[in-house]
Amino acid sequence: MTGARFSAVAIAAVVLLVLGALWTSGSLHAHGPEIRPESADGTLSGSAAEWPSREQWVRALSLRDHNTRVVVLGVTMLGLASGVIGSFTLLRKRALMGDALSHATLPGIGLAFLVATATGITTKSLLLLLVGAAATGVVGVAVLLFLRRYTRLKEDACLGVVLSVFFGAGIAVLGVIQQLGTGSAAGLETFIYGKAASMVPGDVVLIGIGGILVILVCGLLFKEFMLLCFDPAYSAVQGWPVLGLDIVMMALVVVVTVIGLQAVGLVLIIAMLIIPAAAARFWFDRMLPMTLLAGGLGAASAMVGAGISAVFAKLPSGAIIVIVTAVVFAFSMFFGPARGLLPRYVRRRILQRRIGRQHLLRAAYELLESKGGLEEHTPRWIAFDELLTKRSWSLRRVRKLARGAQRAGQVELNDGGIALTDLGRADAARIVRNHRMWEMYLITYADIAPSHVDRDADMIEHVLDADMIAELEGLLSRPVASCR
């Protein structure tokens, strides 16, 4: 059910994007394919140091140029697909496998280019290059899995070996290609850093097809992937083909890597696979919203990044997209509601304050109790000096807690001390009861010496809920053999 809903949402998004791309490509053809209004050397006169004019910003960000529109649509779809599959690889703890895989695509690109040149196929055939990339990428992953399974090397060393050796081989093949003198070798280098500006409508359609494929498979196998991420052993026991599912997952990573090579380059495609998913993790604890948000964040940051790099034509687009994604990540890490630093800090502070206030109430109650002041109807004042003897806390802290309790209507406050209100007295009675019941429980059932139970009960009294109390009442009202 989740899978179906997920697929519906995600595919709708991609279909919209592809329709946009097709519409763009249509209008591009209407204007003639040679229209490239923002070629790198034209408007910016070769100097990236010059800040672009306001008009250039408006042109790029409003997607007025067809070329910019194509590029933005392409990388947006890429961001969507990579965010979705990245969520699964992140939770499967395979984040860095994409790194080895993307580096392993380089020799394939080079070899495919050599084959294309030798057999006389048009040298710009993108599809052939990508097939080559996918082929060596798969070989790289296979080698990785082999090393991890059959040697004593740990995962990290296997990754390092595969990515560096394959990349070295790729560099060597590029060295050969440079001697062909066709000048096309320079074009191959865009696969290393990425150059979104060189994207044409056909590439966008390719990215769209790849993206739909990835999202469709993720949707169909949503439940299986989720089980694989959270409990692979259980999923194996349930009879799911774990190895097969892992292979499908890696195959989807291959697809995203390969279609993303041209836009962001093989070094940085890994960022699009990891960062949006890691950012979305701060927002949601549930898999479905997290996956959708990862896709959304990936798409949004890719869109913004591509827009910015359309203005600064000289800067590598992949790098800009990654920096934008990193900003989104930093924001999520601090403010994400589920696991972000700030919400976590706030939650902890609120809990600490509540605990402190409960300590204050209990201290006041116990002081009253020892003086026999509980039965009186007029509130009786308790001096701060007395409260200070109950726990090791400073006067400043006690005053601060008292102010908090006053705001909650639990105590009245003056310069010298506090007095419990009716509400405060009721709350305090409940807390003291919790505390003492837990002490009794520990003494009776856990065989802990009576002199040691106070501190344990001190920690647990704040988190006992009504059900737990009822259960304790039941247990403690029963006659117990070992009761001393």
């Binding site: 992140l90 860095l96 990349f167 093949v173 060295g175 280098e189 890691a278 590598p316 920096i323």
Partner: protein
């Protein structure tokens, strides 16, 4: 191929190989500890991430002087380790992913800065990323009367620093690599060692840039130690082997960069890429041929073990048939074994051939019979088997019809001492749970 090597220039090519060896050994020395600490990808991350440090140094000084470069790299290297640790610790993100976030971001920033810096400084982004080893001998300085490539001097200094670091902190590195908890209880500051190591990795990565470039540093950092790890269990030997492998890959890399493409009619390619390929080649050899942990030796071990077990099963089966046989008909028609043991005929032939070769079984007119030695061996196996059955039935909750399968596996790894212990624990029985006699212990005649 030979013709292409005739253009070998002892000054140029010699220095290229020299620089390669210095670079590879300096990296591999530190890489040992990365591999052992399961932090190989940290090496990858740092070597990518020092890029912004370099770029800032370029932008500030507008030159390629060494000191600011190393300072920038060291700072960013430590920052990478710190950020990764923070995101992992505070953000509770999986270590690999937090590393991925940090290094790709820093690399992206570095890339942007480098492209900007290229406007002011004579700096080729391509050179930073995959090195320009071929040009290193052209940029020379004079040291003590000798004309030496500048990069060689830098790398030499870095290599000496790394050697000094490893020599001084050898014990600390060793203990904290293998047993971090023990290191902490012994008062070794694991955090300090970690960040010192990361700093040196960053500095070494910068020194290696001009030789092998940003990304291929990982190849010399990780691959030689990983190969050495396949060959030995001792740290000192592993370090020595990794240095040898690193040096050989540098030499092999340069030679193959010149000679390799010539096979296909092309000119020489970049040395840096081929050093990585050469290191990968040596790594594959180590993985396949490693004496104890190599794939082939493990395969051989596995096959010979399963062969021994299968042959022992045949031996025990021959004994059991002999046991049941009435009169003189103690020999067995080989084909009967196939049905009795569910063996495929070729496999049975192999096993029987093996047993005959070892002198445990004789062929008598197309039938098989145990030799005296074979009978002793088989009797011990059956004794172990039946003792195990008795023991399992008495001390575990296995049902009587289940003990056979367990005993079938255990009998192959039971030596005399264990057999004697089993005998004692089961009060020296003469009959097994299925009513068969347990043969007496026999010292085998070999």
């Amino acid at each position: 191929m030979i013709e292409s090597l005739q253009s070998w220039d002892w000054y140029l090519d010699g220095w290229i190989v020299g620089v390669g060896i210095l670079c590879a050994t300096a990296c591999a020395l530190l890489g040992n500890f990365l591999v052992l600490r399961k932090m190989s990808m940290m090496g990858d991350a740092i070597s990518h991430a020092v890029l912004p440090g370099l770029a800032v140094a370029f932008l500030l000084t507008e030159s390629r002087t060494s000191v600011p470069m190393f300072l920038g790299a060291a700072i960013v290297g430590v920052l990478t380790a710190l950020f990764t640790e923070w995101i992992r610790g505070f953000g509770k993100v999986d270590e690999g992913a937090s590393m991925g976030v940090v290094f790709t971001t820093l690399f992206a920033i570095g890339l942007v800065l480098i492209v900007r810096a290229a406007d002011y400084v004579d700096l080729d982004p391509g050179c930073v990323l995959y090195g320009a080893m071929e040009f290193t001998p052209l940029d020379t300085v004079e040291v003590a009367g000798f004309v030496v490539p500048r990069v060689a001097v830098t790398l030499g200094v870095v290599l000496l620093v790394n050697i000094a670091f490893v020599a001084i902190f050898y014990k600390e590195l060793k203990i904290s690599s293998f047993d971090p908890e023990l290191a902490t209880t012994m008062g070794i500051n694991a955090g300090l060692m970690h960040y010192l190591l990361m700093t040196l990795v960053a500095v070494t990565a910068v020194a290696s840039f001009e030789a092998v470039g940003n990304i291929l540093v990982v190849a010399v950092l990780i691959v030689p130690p990983a190969a050495a790890y396949m060959l030995t269990d001792r740290l000192s030997i592993m370090i020595a082997l990794s240095l040898v492998i690193a040096a050989v890959s540098a030499l092999l890399g340069h030679v193959s960069a010149i000679a390799g493409p010539a096979l296909f009619g092309y000119g020489s390619v970049g040395t840096a890429g081929m050093i990585a390929v050469a290191a990968g080649f040596l790594f594959v050899l180590a993985v396949l041929l490693g004496p104890r942990h190599g794939v082939i030796s493990k395969l051989v071990h596995h096959v010979s073990l399963s062969m021994r077990i299968a042959a022992e099963d045949v031996l025990a089966m021959l004994y059991r048939i002999e046991e049941l046989a009435v009169g003189e008909q103690r020999s067995v028609v080989p084909a009967h074994l196939d049905a009795a043991m569910q063996l495929a005929t070729p496999r049975r032939r192999l096993l029987v051939g093996h047993l005959v070769h070892r002198g445990l079984v004789d062929r008598e007119g197309g039938r098989l019979i145990l030799t005296d030695r074979g009978r002793d061996r088989a009797r011990n196996l059956v004794r172990s088997h039946r003792l195990w059955e008795t023991y399992l039935l008495r001390y575990t909750r296995l049902r009587p019809d289940h003990v056979h399968f367990s005993a079938e596996r255990l009998e192959h790894s039971t030596d005399h001492e264990l057999q004697a212990a089993l005998n004692a624990h089961t009060d020296s029985p003469h009959i097994d749970p299925h009513g068969r006699p347990i043969p007496p212990r026999i010292s085998e005649r070999d």
